[in-house]
Subunit: 85 residues, 2 copies
Amino acid sequence: MKFIAEIQVMPQKEILDPQGKAVLMGLKNLGIHNVTDVRVGKHIRMELEAADEETARQEVEMTCRKLLANLIVEDYTYHIYPSQT
Amino acid sequence: MKFIAEIQVMPQKEILDPQGKAVLMGLKNLGIHNVTDVRVGKHIRMELEAADEETARQEVEMTCRKLLANLIVEDYTYHIYPSQT
């Protein structure tokens, strides 16, 4: 069965996010002053074959921990759903 | 009123995604062979003050078009919700 995993990897709350700060400054230069905070992270969309959703979840969990997120400075969240096609 | 916008900026379907290909190769090196496709994009979490959700939506739309996404090679999606705090 085919699943889609939508994964977000974001800098942890306590960690300074220079890319977010750059976006915030860019917004001020555009004349937008009511944005109070911006954090920039990664979004990963993964297609995988798995017997069931639990198996898919385990693989996505392992992928996040071993490859996608640096757990010292980043957090990850994801959701998994069956692919329509 | 305070709103949170969760924005995803992803490479368009037709566009080659070298970062996604790199993740796919990394997965194979980890012994995970059942992932068929990976696309890597950006996730942006934005906090903003706005009178109502429609105003917030317009600002997020403008931010995406002018600052966050390169519309030639990227697509964006977002959802906006009132902040709890």
